[in-house]
Symmetry: C2
Subunit: 251 residues, 2 copies
């Protein structure tokens, strides 16, 4: 197995390092954040570097940085270096001049404080050559049992659906929590409801058929009372989602 060079010390780099370390796959970590590099060194017994000059030119580089820093990082590496990046949205077309460039997109939300079973994380693969693509599949299959190909257009669509499924539901739950807590109410009271909401989805029920609530019932009196309790973005979100539910279920 080729050595891996991870660039970045964020959540994706962290979980990938943890996984490579547990699988005894050789890797090194490169980043600008000195204190995070120290954490990685201590946690994963891995060599860390703050300069890219230490990158083995035969290694596979996994760029785990913010989308708008990826191009800049890639451009600092040798034209022959094998490189993948982990973005859901950035198109491979941006890197037409590279010899070996690809995407290794793990479809999951990562927090450093939480364990992830990487074997169940879908990994979406794309590469600019058949040979490099095959190599990436071999690498990804060592980490996950759910490796799939997705071109840039498809990956972009999946990423958008993932933003709704994770980022947006999480923020809506945060609004729910804040609505309780600003009234000194215990958010735990809603936990059985939240558990039921998502258990149904995980079990395979269709959310369209599960929809309940004032908007679904066209209970405009309750909708007015609820909207009047809100302001700012919370009010706008309330009104838009309510109208969207009404439109969806009118069909």
């Amino acid at each position: 197995m080729t050595e891996i060079s991870i660039i970045g010390t964020g959540n994706v780099a962290f979980h990938l390092s943890k996984e490579l370390s547990s699988k005894k796959i050789d890797f090194k970590v490169f980043g600008r954040n000195i204190s995070e590099l120290k954490n990685f060194k201590n946690l994963f017994q891995v060599e860390t570097f703050s300069l890219f000059s230490g990158i083995n030119t035969q290694s596979l580089v996994v760029v785990c940085v913010k989308d708008d820093e990826i191009e800049n990082v890639v451009n600092q590496l040798s034209i022959n270096q094998k490189i993948v990046y982990t973005s859901g949205t950035l198109s491979l077309n941006l890197f037409k001049k590279r010899k070996n460039i690809g995407v290794f997109y793990p479809l999951q939300t990562f927090s450093k404080k939480r364990l992830i079973d990487f074997s169940q994380v879908p990994i979406l693969i794309e590469a600019n050559t058949k040979e490099f693509s095959d190599e990436l599949v071999i690498f990804a299959s060592k980490i996950s049992s759910r490796v799939e190909f997705a071109d840039s257009e498809t990956r972009k669509k999946i990423h958008l659906a993932a933003v709704f499924a994770n980022n947006f539901t999480n923020h809506i739950l945060n609004i729910s929590k804040n609505l309780m807590e600003k009234n000194n109410l215990d958010w735990d009271l809603l936990k059985p409801l939240i558990k039921e909401t998502f258990s149904k989805i995980i079990e395979g029920k269709n959310p369209e058929l599960l929809q309940t609530g004032p908007a679904k019932r066209l209970d405009f009196n309750t909708i007015k009372i609820q909207s009047d309790q809100l302001d700012g973005f919370e009010k706008l979100i309330y009104e838009n989602i309510t109208n969207s539910i009404i439109e969806t279920h009118k069909k």
Copy 2:
């Protein structure tokens, strides 16, 4: 135990009937929907009636109809009848002339096709007299281990937080599903992500600290690419939640 008269044949009436039946608590069901009444009769071996004249005046009536039909139903019943309704938002102030009126609000989302463990469903109680309130607590405690008092103002706030926690997250998941399916992509690919999203919340993590994604990272290039893929309410929802995440995490 007083006999229970359930008015309505919707999701709440269904699950309450199921629970009373399994607990061998005497009850009858009253409704307008003849075919649903037949279902209730068959499923729960219960007497059903299409006219309120059959209601035992000594029974406790549980009104399980849409919010905007509750007043109309209550007004058709004897002034001495003991009545509770199951609404999250309707204020008890609307019924000042009644002798025994109260609220029995189960904080859960109910679908007929799915089993509910009623013992874990928080039931919020309110009543216009101390005696009736005590009676309702005794009744509710036969069904759930999580019985709490909540006045109309508090219940209204909890209901609003519940609409975000259930109705809105469910609809956001439905948008996510539709975004995948209209591109012939399998929504199951997102299930590990959805499972992780909600497992964290159920385990007690704070959603504010779990937030990830383009809005959290201020990745405006990706936000633009994603917003451009949407139109109608989906675009409005995308933009408002994105702006709300940015505002929340700017603090």
